[in-house]
Amino acid sequence: MAAAAASSQSLPITVSNLVKAYGDLRVLDDVSIAIRPGEFMTLLGPSGSGKTTLLMALAGFVSPESGSIRFGEQEMITTSPHKRGVGMVFQSYALFPFMSVVENVAYPLKIRGVSPAEQKSRAEAALEMVKLGGYGGRRINQLSGGQKQRVALARAMVFEPRIILMDEPLSALDKKLREHMQIELKQLHQKLDATIVYVTHDQREALTMSDRIAVINKGRIAQLDEPKALYRRPNSLFVADFIGETVLLPVQREGDGVSLQGRKLKLATPTPSGNGPLQLVIRPELLQLDAGDDGDTNTIAGVVRQTIYQGDSVLLIIDAGDGREVSVRIATSRAGQASLPDSGSRIALGLHRDDTVVLAEQAP
């Protein structure tokens, strides 16, 4: 085991100019992405954006028209799937129903010609890792969804692959179990010396688990960044809208700056070039109710329309003029202390300049 572990150092993945087309549809449109060794990289995007296709290209099940895929220094584009040495977890788990749990997990070792005794001990160790110790003798159809998920995970990592690919592995689980497994997967990743590429269309899941996230739209990488940067500094309205809760307010160009309600805005990022229409991207939880003017805060005037209690937070719907609505989210703990404004009252909302992001409606 020690020798195997020493050789199993995680690998960087370099995808360059990858193109995959089905007929006229370019499902992967010149995708380039550099994944660092040991990184937890999430491919995030709406349905049909090409996430699975990219993952399958990495695994070798989709053959691209052009481009390159390198694991470490090695070009993989023509290597057949079974020689790529990647562990894979499928959305449907794809467990072998006619084998027991331990036989499933030992399968990659059996194929590799590992001795039966070592197969058994390593499979059991892998099951232990996913907290399924003692379940080895069970049949697959005797497992719950979450347990099947864990078996699939154990099977993908038992042969200590340096790259693990996962396609929406948690999507079949209920919300609570899914959130639990997210944390567990993240902890598992820290123990494993493997580069993980993870596909999901759930932005919250992506933010929770990833070192970095590649947002994919229509076969292109829209933005690749760390979760925090992606959330706070989206580079396009698509990304802003896709990640987190977003309210957009149209703003006007004024000289080389930007104004809202006649006041010049202090921006976190440079004003987008060109002369197309601009939108202010607002995260409802970043707006402040009691805005003092400290020189670093933009203010937005409005009238309170509605107060909605949502358990952990209170949502205020504000009319910012011209029928534009802005919502403000206040954590319930804070809402209890400050008295909330009544419906119909005029208020000034504060938005710190570091949170003030303005984006062009059309990407340049």
Partner: protein, 270 residues
């Protein structure tokens, strides 16, 4: 589906349906079953019900070297056809399953041709073809012709079970280091085993039962049992035919039972 499973049907409807079902079964079975008592008759002619009983027609059958050689020809051809048609049909079904819908649908039409075209046309065609390549009256020729007739049945049964099979399992196996043949043999085949066995059984029966094509292209020392029976019926009707038929029924039933037995075992494992 058991009749009792029908929700909303009154007991009377259910009973009528059961009687109806039994009648249909009876009429389906009757022609097959009737030859069995006839074969044990002591009479010179085929008669039902027999007036006296004996095993003389079985002695006649098993004692005749002509009948025996035809029997062995038939069994040999059926076994070889099964051995050829089963892997061929299974691989064809697998290939068709893995292609796009459009290709699969057109292939399906093509592959079903031998079943759809009247056998007499196939027989005439094969006869003329074999005259050119000199395969008439040969075991090889018979096996090839029967394989062409049997393959569609294997394809249909295997294809339908592949439709209920999750091919991502094979992808999973391949990602874990199994080559494609390894993944197919180790993961897919065990799960579609029953349909492959059923296909093999159908191939065996197709060959054993086949008379029209055999009538044209088999003969001499390589005549099949069905061909010889046909000729015997034309010349004189004697109860040997009934004895042979009974034996054929027994062979078929045994083969079917074997499929069911192994099928039940493979299902029990999943």
């Amino acid at each position: 589906m058991a009749i009792q499973d029908m929700p909303g049907a009154s007991p009377w409807t259910q009973r009528l349906l059961a009687i109806y079902g039994a009648l249909v079964l009876f009429f389906l079975m009757l022609p097959t079953v009737i030859v069995i008592p006839m074969s044990f008759s002591d009479s010179q002619y085929l008669e039902f019900p027999p007036t006296s009983w004996s095993l003389r027609w079985y002695r006649e059958y098993f004692g005749s070297s002509a009948w025996m050689s035809a029997t062995w020809t038939s069994l040999l051809v059926a076994v070889l056809t099964t051995l050829l048609a089963t892997p061929l049909g299974t691989l064809a079904a697998y290939g068709m399953h893995c292609t796009s819908d459009r290709v699969r649908n057109s292939l399906q039409l093509l592959v079903l041709m031998p079943v759809v075209v009247p056998s007499i046309l196939v027989a005439v065609g094969v006869f003329h073809l074999y005259a050119i390549v000199d395969l008439n009256y040969s075991i090889t020729g018979l096996v090839l012709a029967h394989t062409a007739l049997a393959v569609p049945f294997v394809i249909i049964t295997v294809l339908s079970s592949l439709n209920n099979y999750d091919m991502t399992q094979e992808m999973a196996a391949r990602s874990m280091g199994a080559s494609r043949p390894q993944a197919f043999l180790g993961i897919t085949l065990p799960q579609i085993r029953f349909s492959v066995l059923t296909g093999a059984f159908l191939a065996f029966i197709t060959s054993l039962d086949e008379v029209v094509v055999a009538k044209f292209i088999s003969g001499g020392e390589n005549a099949t049992i069905t061909r010889r029976m046909f000729n015997a019926l034309r010349d004189q009707i004697d109860p040997t035919i009934a004895a042979i038929s009974t034996c054929l029924i027994v062979v078929s039933v045994l083969a079917l039972a074997a499929v069911q037995f192994f099928g039940a075992r493979s299902k029990g494992r999943t």
